[in-house]
Assembly symmetry: D3
């Protein structure tokens, strides 16, 4: 009769046996360079999702019909970046071993590295689609190599050239752009070229990482490093839908919501709705298929 209080993202309380996507939070922000607070992101997304409907008129789909389970947040070792990343990597590996799709909610963008290590281990030929305002390609930041400003550079070290596709980038050092030009594919400012990229990656395993600050601060002020001049909510919604419904997404994350910096809650709702649309679009996709070309790197 009496049971403990359960809280999950909108309708993401499905039977673990049949769930195909497992949602989990990594409330970590220790390397954030400007304004911390993203540690509160995953809990806020879970909690405030009840301000949305589970049905999407864009997709004519409902999360009630989905197969997602929200596992809650990891309890991470704040202040010890190495350990925290290992915890995220371990959880991701477990999910992959259970033949399910990991969906990580950050936290700062560095959390991607934890998840991606497990994904790249399982899918050596994985590619990354990366939406962000910032290139995140620094070699190091203030002496730290494990910094959210370096996360894609660290990911690159795992897979090498030609595997990372960036969109929406509008900030970085001159060095990042120079280095990036010969190692990753960077599209500035918007999502131009996304369709072609998806065509090229057809059938290949894709890790999809969304730094929500790709949106303009008018839409999404609640983030650590607001960078004016970003995309609209609808532009991001359409782009994530396109990726999730056309690419073979074997893992993904949504990060950099910092709720304390948006007292109106609008940023949190934008994050919730992006997560909902991604989950709905992924609903019809199966991440692990027989015959997929998963084990060879390169294109």
């Amino acid at each position: 009769m009496w049971s403990k209080n359960v809280e999950t993202f909108l309708e993401c309380d499905k039977n673990p046996h049949y769930a195909t996507t497992l949602l989990f939070g990594a409330p970590f922000d220790s390397t954030t360079s400007y304004r911390p607070g993203t540690r509160f992101g995953p809990a806020a997304i879970r909690r405030e999702s009840y301000g949305l409907e589970s049905y999407s008129p864009y997709l004519n789909e409902d999360l009630e019909d989905g197969s997602v389970l929200d596992l809650g947040d990891l309890e991470l070792c704040l202040g010890d970046t190495r350990k925290a990343l290992e915890q995220i990597e371990d959880r991701t590996r477990e999910i992959l071993q259970a033949a399910k799709r990991p969906f990580l909610l950050g936290g700062e963008h560095l959390v991607t590295l934890g998840a991606f290590r497990a994904v790249a281990e399982r899918y050596p030929n994985v590619h990354i689609i990366h939406f962000d305002a910032h290139a995140d390609l620094r070699e190091e930041y203030l002496g730290a190599e494990l910094s959210h400003a370096c996360v894609l550079r660290r990911c690159w070290e795992l897979v090498g050239d030609g595997r990372i596709y960036q969109f929406g980038i509008r900030s970085g050092t001159r060095e990042e752009f120079t280095w990036g030009a010969s190692h990753v594919e960077t599209r500035l400012f918007d999502f131009d070229g996304l369709e072609e990229t998806l065509d090229r990656l057809k059938g290949k395993p894709v890790y999809f990482t969304v730094d929500l600050d790709v949106m303009d601060p008018s839409v999404f002020p609640g983030t650590g490093t607001p960078e004016p001049g970003g995309v609209t909510f609808d532009a991001l919604r359409q782009a994530v839908t396109m990726v999730c419904s056309r690419a073979r997404v074997v893992g993904c994350d949504v990060n950099e919501l910092s709720p304390p910096y948006d007292q109106s809650g609008a940023s949190t709702m934008a994050a919730c709705k992006i997560v909902r649309e991604m989950l709905l679009a992924l609903q019809s996709m199966r991440p692990h298929g027989k015959g997929d070309d998963d084990n060879t790197g390169g294109m």
Copy 2:
């Protein structure tokens, strides 16, 4: 020499005798499902209107030349929804009997039902133009039939099929959309089709209800249920101007501003400016005319 302090919306202090539009507030939010606070909406709109000019460069009109009187807020029975709606209905009926146009400031969207009851009684053939992010067509919400999530459904019960035109809708349950398809006309996401609708409703009495959350939360975060992906301020401004200057608006309302959720005040200013533009556009329209076809329902 000494007189009590008077506060009205910008220049809306005209002689009650000659006033053609009567503005009044309904500070009610008891059925709000997500975040309350719209009770503070009408007072904030009145107060902050002084941050605007009374002159509109869009319309080349000035509220100084208008004929609007702001009656202030009703003192509503919070917690007893039925009584509160009756109070709104009574005030609206009095205004209509005085052959003036009621302009209601909410409060949550349910206040529309109070005003619309009086309007539908006086104009049995009235139609509704409804701008909103949410369909508001539920049969009931958490057991309540008098909820802001059901308000258009309750209005529909008064006038029947084919009388309600919704624009900008981007949220609802699957059931609401299914039911709506055969009872009301719903345009998703924007104001496409508004001109055709206005052509069809030419000469017919129209009740115009504006849920300000039809705007994107970037423009209007100060609301109970922010729903990302809405229209811009200018899109809404143009649409309300079109309705108010082309339709025969016999009553209207603007609702769902929740000032505590936008500490910057920008949401309140957006509400103020929409109200100003509506009042200016209505200025040249007369709501009650001889020969109008007011007494027969249907189209």
Copy 3:
């Protein structure tokens, strides 16, 4: 291996079988007269409790050793006060029937009425100890009898004269104080007389209701109706400890936290710590005992 996300108040995740106190939230604020938002109170208390330790140096007790289960929040019918109160009453009755102690987290103060109906039914001779800034003894408020401004008056109707002991009261109409003088015992401004009251109520069943706004707004600004001139946190802490460790508390509630009005979170922490100290003090008390004089009213 995978399980849904569980969230409870600090260590209040004990086996339902052995739990002696059941915590539950009533996120209701529809009758709030001034500033709504207490609906967010119980979830905030649950969530932010992790900023505290489970151990109290005041009492040298730890919630780890306790027997409390947090059931989460009721899903209440907002806008229909009568139904919402019935839902609270039903849940309280079930808890009492299971021979456990209900501990209700509001919401606005009116939620007390729901819980108290069930308690008064089970313990006809129950007395109320009431901490509050406001007398809450109005006959009606703006036409509503079910209003948080009337809640103790409604409770009085269930048990009659001489059963209600108020402390800390510093606000009310002249009528409330006049009426109160002959029906309840009211101590103004602080907790003077609390020990004598506890002596008088020794062994009798007590319902304990704490409106947190009894604290000064400097300590507790996050509430619907801040009333300057209240008690300090330590004064309240000592007083609730005294009641919970010396009275026979058969049910209790803590209410009127409105998190949106205190962006610093300090109000929420004050609420959390009061709840922790109450739970710890109640730990050593058994609410239901053989031989207790439970079935006759009067003193």
Copy 4:
């Protein structure tokens, strides 16, 4: 039937003929040295007073039985300090000529100078009781003589030595304290000595100026220059009551509430309650009496 919206401080809507105290606001903050925003003070006090009761259990008095009229705010010339002060002086003079008591709501503390000029003209032997955190005795501030940091120095120029009694002072330059020692009477930190002062001023006309920042920032963070270490709300409440019920207050002001700096609204409520208690205590006092020794300076 229809009338413009009236807004006054709690029950301060009495007939101008019979009103004995006239309340008015001076929304001015142009010389504020640290954080502006007090211009919003008087309107916030008026508006939020409805969160209080009109009855005081401290005094057993009710504003319903009072004779106060709230005239609203002056429309002041911001940016031209000299003009703004003249406007305040003119309004005060009119009130005094009508044999009523002016009660000014600031605005920054400099507004006192406007009111005090008119009062000192009418009552050459007036004394000042001054509650404040800051001495406000500078000769000039950043080149301006008309600055809120100099206001008591400017008042001193009108009446000379021995007329100003300061209480609660806890901030100033070394020069201010040195100068003050031989010209005004300054009590540091609290209200010690207030009773003796009131005894000495018995029957003499008193101008009473309350800078609300005399309260500790915990109670009253919403002010331009928060200065930790102040008095509690209750200490101030008792002190203002003592002054208003024992001194012959011929004019008074309450100032330095800056609502934007306290999003919780608790500061505004503290201001409202201080104003209420002052008005209630003044209720039984008549400011202008035959036989009073009003026309000779000195003690």
Copy 5:
């Protein structure tokens, strides 16, 4: 070894000898009519600039390679408008005499008058390019001629007809627009016509004044008088870049950021990025050239 703490805008710490642009702040907001707070603008822009990169991917330029020195804020006489303007004028004159370009950070828009006086003295044939939501062409405002609502009118008095080009204007009184029609060139709502204007002003000295409220409040809520319906960040960015890289800008200012009204900090970042882009675009321009036609007024 030990040195005082230095704080400048991003990389604007160049040797005073070689610096070509001198940045300085005027923290003044005494005439602000609606909501003060712009005095905190320049310090916030300086401080928060570290959330940006010094490199711009739009321009492929880096402030590291620039020649800008940030002198910090003037210590202005608040409350004495005349003096404050003189202080700004003096500083600007010194900068011009050193053959450097003054770049002023407001503060309210009135600060422009101080800088422009010095500029118009040095360049009698200077023209103004003015981006703003408000026309700022009033003859006086509430009795003050030195008000931010009159600043362009005051500038016009210095240079006469045909010298002022306004863009983005969407608010003003009817009188302002009427007067403006025969004295200045006003483009409503956006930057249409900017290219033609720049063509016409080719080679002529231009003072460029940017009121940031030309942006929509969704992008830039942190301002004194938010006016819905403005331009996007990208539209403003492109327009300022065009002016700074094509006109001969002999002085400029950016004003009306009021950080307290945007707790998210997004408005400050928008201001920072506009300043960065302007500085970068100015980098390749020399303001003072031999053979320029600087000494004759008219077009």
Copy 6:
């Protein structure tokens, strides 16, 4: 003529040669367990100090007469705790080697460890006086030994039993209190016993660490882990004055101000004033004296 913008704490811009105390900030909060933001503490203290006077009426001293230099903030490696602590240690060592007193502004409390390492190296017989709400004596926290919850435990490892005196503690795990009982001296809740402690430590070198959350959250809500039930501002002010004027303070720190959590700024002002009073009280003390017993451990 032109110079870079300098910003220091109030009057702390003295010649490095003659300065006896060197102030520096450590903007670090990577191990904060609950709410980050203390990285913004030192800059806020520096900046907002201008809301205070440099003169103290409590001490009749002025910082103008002092000999303090503010060096600004270290640029720390966020996310790499070990490196950040080394940077703090290095800076402290340099200051000590220059025979000056280090005064560190945090940041989270872990920064103390960096400074204390250098101090304990230089003064092996140093003792710690520790003001805090939290015991900070954990062996590890969520797997991290370098956490702000463990900082005093780490300091104890450097100096051993009987060297640490804690005051004001009101939160900890049962284990911390048990362990502490035999290793450090802990006074709960307030400053009782401080005078005796100072008597015992007479002449011995003392490191003084102030976690500002020892104050009640009503006074100081802007902190990472608000813990209700703390001391008043005046209690802390008197206690720090007593320590700084009677102990031989060879190094000290003030930490845990998190400005984003107190939008009113009152917390920052409390921090500023505590720092000012400490600096003034230290002014008459010389930290390094001939004949002091500095080189032998033990008591």
